[in-house]
Symmetry: C2
Subunit: 221 residues, 2 copies
DNA sequence: ATAATAGTGTCTCTAAGACACTATCCG
DNA sequence: CGGATAGTGTCTTAGAGACACTATTAT
């Protein structure tokens, strides 16, 4: 970071990776192995490697792959944090990303690589003392996600490839933290072009089967 | 950027600075003095100076001050651009900012410092061939601004401290690029808490005087 | 039948679009 | 007075919230 008399900033990507676990919205936290802030919980993150990463967005993708072994459905920039004091190692930039993982993908890596990475319900996570300014980051990532859902984006990336309308409604409701009216929601979904029912496919199980849906090419989070 | 065997990325802030000039939405463009891309038009930008800038956001503020001599009303992050090929000097990061300048502020610096900086109507600017990926940047900054207005934010930073409702309506309409219904708009503004009429203050001039308004502490773009 | 989940119908309320209208100023 | 800008009233429509209702399955 300091070399030929010039100061070069450290550049990081930090990821707020969300998924739904046992009817709860969770975020992936990693326990820091090294100083600074060793042993504290933090959002998974890593330094930009210009030789490997075609862009900083790709750094974020790489970090997710390293931590959970799969690529997240969508990875979006939230905000850039920067300054001399936020990381003791020196002047730093951290681009915060928000990403979503489906249940399918989470199951595929059910046994996370180390015990030092874990899914934490967001309600608990926001109370935890996180490393650096990651507490603020988590709050902002959540606001970002909530704002998108309020503006009627559908968090299909949190769901399996096929899903029932109730699955989708529950996901929205979990993110918003408030109940969503079933009738209004289904009315909206009927008019929506970005999802469509899969003819003849139903969620079997106890009680009445539910029509399954899937995303159309129109879909964009 | 290259030093002890490690590659350090260049870090820039680039600013899409908007203002209203003669009933047209304009953006500030600077003609590049040096290579690379000398003589091409570009969004004003500059490199992060860690010794001077408390954060990259402050770099953006500094750039605006350097170019037009005043501080913009609001400076917001739009998106981070990054990669090895977007700037021939090497791996680079550019944070794009969107900022607004009021007519008052523009008038205060009516004679811009050099002839190499100028206000260009956005319609013309988007057609121009800009340096680097600044064409994409301008497009995204405009989308960003439009989205905020669609979501009912008020571009008070484009206006003087006191303004008529028609001023505000015209600003919205210019940004959106489509007419805004007067009656609906005023209805909304009557319910709005972030602006209030200034008792007894009117825009004098030809014909019927217009009630002047000002922002309240509630206001946030 | 009953419990449980899937899915519908309908009333009301709010806010926005469209557009014609009135009000107040200048000369 | 007429011309121009400031500001209002009112009809209609689209969509969301609330909530009671019907439908289909398993046991």
């Amino acid at each position: 970071m300091l070399t030929d008399g010039v100061i070069y900033p450290l550049v990081f990507a930090d990821v707020a990776l969300f998924s739904i676990q046992e009817r709860d919205l969770c975020v992936l936290l990693a326990r820091r192995a090294n100083d600074p802030e060793a042993n504290k919980w933090a959002l998974p993150g890593g330094i930009l490697k210009p030789m490997i990463d075609a862009s900083l967005d790709q750094t974020a993708v790489r970090i997710i792959r390293d931590k959970v072994g799969v690529s997240a459905g969508c990875v979006e920039q939230v905000r850039l944090f920067s300054g001399a004091t936020r990381d003791p190692r020196g002047y730093s930039l951290s681009q915060l990303y928000c990403a979503l993982l489906s249940k399918d993908q989470v199951c595929a890596v059910a046994g996370l690589k180390t015990s030092e990475v874990g899914w934490v319900p967001v309600k608990l996570a926001t109370d935890k003392e996180l490393a650096f300014d990651h507490g603020v980051m988590l709050t902002e990532a959540l606001q970002f996600l909530r704002a998108k859902i309020k503006h009627r984006a559908l968090p299909l990336h949190l769901l399996n490839a096929t899903f029932s309308l109730l699955d989708l409604q529950d996901a929205c409701s979990l993110i918003l933290g408030s109940p969503v009216d079933k009738s209004s929601f289904r009315r909206r979904m009927k008019a929506e072009t970005c999802i469509r029912p899969v003819q003849g496919q139903f969620r079997e199980g106890a009680y009445r089967p539910a029509q399954l849906y899937q995303a159309t090419p129109d879909f964009q989070f």
